[in-house]
Subunit: 275 residues, 2 copies
């Protein structure tokens, strides 16, 4: 196999499984080459990752070591994602009445959702989170892809108790968008007590449901080490959670004029990761 | 930039966006090389994809043409995925009583879910589907990744009418697992009348909810050109849908002995794609 083919194959294998550790001998056997060749190839693969701005290759030394792909997104690419999200959100046809925006097509668009998830994965990769948590339904693709890029599993909080979830913990919380008390529950099997989690959702108004998820997790002695939402609203200014990362802020909506005022969050990549 | 770096960067860019068409001039500008060099690089990138068994590069000729990544998975890799899924399902701790299995950790595991989605994407790539449909909640990650690999969007059928979905079509259907009539609804904005869809779900017993999704889609004059489920049950043998693809079949469960009898579906890659 020619060197360019081998290096490109290595990039494909690594990037298909973010966070998975591959030993040098895996590539020696797979490609039928010496360890020194794998080292050279790894350096070239790392250059290719850097060149696309889409990640880096981490080397873990020692007997149990190896190399793994850590997804990344550059500052400029982040900005492009934020602007793309703003442009999509500004389409007047999203106005559903009552200031509600239709966003399902955005969060279910694999290409844009993947870009947003890459931003979250970059933001939270050093938080020590062992899983990503979200609440059904629309946040699932973003949360799932963030988990994929971070190489950790997803846990989904349900709005109703499900027989297929086994023993569950439930809490009640006040939802500002529906203006009533709601229930949420999480399967005991979905989480490991004492661990850390990152919470991801598509849309945040007052933060009631995210606060609820955090409370539910604390019942399992799980700490929240990061909160990411694609869109947050400027109002109400006082949120029920204190630290979160949002890609864009919905300043307001003028239904008469069909204007949706949404701006990129400039602080996205510069604020502290922990809460 | 060295040739191996350039070829590997091309593979990374293409595979991050399945189905997206990139013109030759995109790579000429990005890498600062001549068209002939891009052609050589494309051939090497295609070799690397083939080598990993993870896809191919399709060339579309003409002025609006270019190259794009079409994900693939080999027969041997499919078998490995089926066996991994069986092994995971056989863990006795999944038994929730009443023959119900806990499967959330499997469908929310990004690595296994990605492999299952690759199988579906291979199976349904020639169906002409313009979107993937599923019903909330647990099928979403599989359906979303299948959509990602097919380069098409996802539409999620809701179990309750949601204010944020705009005008919706609703139907009632009989759910065998809950033994009662249920409602499902789909936003008019989520679909294009007259198109084709692939339905993906995690688990199928009698097929009532998938039949429901198909009926709901038919209200929008949308034809179902493929149905894929990760796990189907052997009983009831008479399903409410006639043609579907499942990775594995749950033969039965012995709760006394803690035995879960699940086998790979041998016909997975050989049956017709259309229904």
């Amino acid at each position: 196999m020619k060197k360019p083919v081998r290096v490109a194959a290595m990039v494909k294998i690594l990037s298909d499984h973010p966070g998975r550790l591959y030993s040098t001998s895996y590539f020696c056997e797979r490609f039928g080459v010496a360890k020194s060749t794998v080292s050279e190839d790894t350096a070239l693969a790392a250059s290719a990752m850097r060149e696309t701005g889409s990640g880096c290759i981490e080397t873990l030394p020692g007997a149990g070591g190896g190399i793994r792909y850590v997804p990344h997104i550059t500052d400029a690419q982040c900005r492009t994602v934020q602007e793309a999200l703003c442009r999509r959100l500004q389409e007047p046809s999203r106005l559903m009445g009552g200031g509600i925006l239709y966003v399902a097509d955005i969060v279910y668009d694999p290409s844009l959702a993947a870009d947003i998830a890459r931003v979250f994965a970059r933001r939270f990769r050093d938080t020590g989170a062992s899983f990503v948590a979200t609440i059904e339904t629309k946040g699932i693709p973003l949360a799932f892809l963030t988990a994929h890029y971070m190489g950790i599993p997803l846990a989904v909080v349900r709005r109703r108790h499900q027989i297929s979830e086994g023993p569950t913990m439930s809490i009640n919380y006040f939802s500002a968008s529906t203006e009533k008390m709601q229930q949420m529950s999480l399967s005991k099997k979905a989480v490991t007590p004492g661990s850390h989690a990152v919470i991801i959702d598509d849309f945040m108004r007052a933060g009631g449901s995210i606060r609820g998820i955090a409370e539910l997790l604390s019942e399992f002695d799980i700490q929240v080490s990061g909160i990411g939402v694609a869109v947050s609203t400027a109002q109400p200014a006082a949120k029920k959670i204190h630290t979160y990362t949002s890609l864009v802020t919905l300043q307001g909506v003028d239904e008469e004029q069909g204007i949706i005022d949404v701006v990129p969050n400039d602080a996205l990549l510069h604020t502290g990761a922990s809460i």
